[in-house]
Symmetry: C2
Subunit: 415 residues, 2 copies
Amino acid sequence: MRDLLPEETRIRDYLTHEIAAIYRRWGFQRIETPALERIEFLTAGQGGENEKLIFKVLKRGEKLDLAAAAGEDDLVDAGLRFDLTVPLTRFVASHGSELPMPFKALQIGSVWRAERPQRGRFRQFTQCDIDIIGLEAPFAEVELIMATSECLTALGLRDFTVKVNDRRLLAALAASCGFSADQQGAVFIALDKFDKVGLDGVKADLTGFDERAVGRLLDILSQSGQARSVGEFARNAGINAGIETPGSTVAELEEIIGRTALPPESGARVVFDPLLIRGMGYYTGAVFEVWHKDYPFSMAGGGRYDKMIGRWLGREVPACGFSIGFERLVTELAQKGIAGAAAPRRIAMLFEDGGVFAAQERARGLRTGDTVVSVLPRAKRMGHQLEELRKQGYSEAWLVGNDGARQLSFEQKAQ
Amino acid sequence: MRDLLPEETRIRDYLTHEIAAIYRRWGFQRIETPALERIEFLTAGQGGENEKLIFKVLKRGEKLDLAAAAGEDDLVDAGLRFDLTVPLTRFVASHGSELPMPFKALQIGSVWRAERPQRGRFRQFTQCDIDIIGLEAPFAEVELIMATSECLTALGLRDFTVKVNDRRLLAALAASCGFSADQQGAVFIALDKFDKVGLDGVKADLTGFDERAVGRLLDILSQSGQARSVGEFARNAGINAGIETPGSTVAELEEIIGRTALPPESGARVVFDPLLIRGMGYYTGAVFEVWHKDYPFSMAGGGRYDKMIGRWLGREVPACGFSIGFERLVTELAQKGIAGAAAPRRIAMLFEDGGVFAAQERARGLRTGDTVVSVLPRAKRMGHQLEELRKQGYSEAWLVGNDGARQLSFEQKAQ
């Protein structure tokens, strides 16, 4: 886990604030769930592979009986959340009657995963999610994509691509190729690696499945770039015609692609990508990701998960979400620089002898807007101190002593 | 642990943002440390009673050997932080060379304590701390009190009292009454309860100690209100005259009291309180708390802890901090209402039939500044929906259908 130093924290705070301001204007309302959830809830099967990475919290007091403990499960009763979606489903199930419906939720918060430390991966990291609960396709999908695209555009991202697909279309495709329903999970997992391993890699991964089905699937996918619409892709793939009726999966996807209005200055577009899978098992409809040619990873991702909240309520609740890859965005934008996140004007008010209170008084009047005024003791080597202040981003300095104040020049270092 | 719903989160976000903006203008820079720290570090004795309340995290993988575990200590390797001060000392020891000195740190973040749940106490709560590292008394003390008072004033608190005392003065007082150095901790703990139990309660708590020493201590404290200055109190108490020389504890305290300029509109004042103790063992000099006659608890508290960072570095580093009682402030201010945190203008853009994309287009142009525009499907019972929207704070609504848009009246409920 890492500490965040002042400059990085400043950029993160700026991004958080900008993103929240935009989403708020769209009607998303920020909520917070606790970092700790009951362990039974976190390990109920919604989190996929992430459930293996939970930091588990030891029982306390009388509840902890080490002698009687047969295994890990007897020792723990809580865990740190590994994402913001699983806690949201509990939140909505618990507080549904207090929430407007549809409910547009914004969450920005830390999640924890006990992953092997590696470059660019952290065991505590920030997620930034919006979700719309209680709104059917394609309305929620269109709004999530529009709002998130506005955020990314405001942060300076240009010419990005929003890829969309649908889990039901994938299921129909797998079925039409001859895979049984219980083989679909494995097929999706293999397809999900396409970006990294290519068609040959996917083929190798599907060894053991019916060869004709695999061959047919890979044929369709390798030719998918030629389809001019989702409907044409479905027809070429021989997918059951029912999927093309109004209100169908194909019609929904076409509506998402055709009707999502992205900010004109973004240069962005929404496209159909039959190879887009997304890892989590909980998706039930549309899935989407934001990609940019300069980056080998997605900038945002999400989809529809209509059955998840229902697990706690016993009735299905429409739900769809979109998550910005906050950590990646911070890294990229911090390297490029963000116009709006420019450092503030910094003034150093150095005091010597009895000047500290006069320095505080002088500083008071200058602290307006973004201007930072820091009162600091004059160092013995003031030239060196000024050089350090200049490096820290100070553009103005004063020396306040018994005889009053005088402005210092950053050029005139020697004293 | 609790979920935070939209309205509470909005007020918390407003407070966080306002407090951070003010502290930033004073030159405080926000940093973040991880939620999890190594367990040996958290239990090294700096956290006092809080160390008993740590949520401990189970070891993972091969490190966890249940069969060989003799006790709790063998099972855990990390814990959730119980405050922001102890992690800050590690942060400064780790990153000192990358930080400006003096370093003015701002931390706003969650801490966790496994307390018995009770009204107004939470197991996860937010702390809001500023600390100045590398600056001697009384400069850091004065700045911390001034900056925090500006925050509290900006949030609407008036006529509050900043009480100050000094651990060295308390030690000298205990010594002059006849207590030995190793009795001081117990004496301070007893005195700390004075607010709740009165002088008689303190006396009962000090049963077993030398009766003359106890009598003398209580005499001095019961008459302390008559002293017109720290120096007079010290003389009356027969405290060693050395403490009154320039640069001494008495001189420092008098300077903090006399020189701290509070915002004129605050109606606040700084006073000496020889009964102010503060619980933590790590304080080495001045301690201070903010009180208001309407509240039976302090709104903020802090003090100097010069020996804590030194534990990790092997050399003493001056350090002084002030923490705003964020949760209490939220509760109080949410009840009173905060002028600046007024709810935004909310517009509902309802769509029916094919109007959703026209509604999104219309909404786009209206989303400026703080204005919230939420695109929502028209409910079957639109009058009921408008009533719900009004309750949620919407002041304007439009209906967008195939034939264009028309404004709806919140009065004209029936449809």
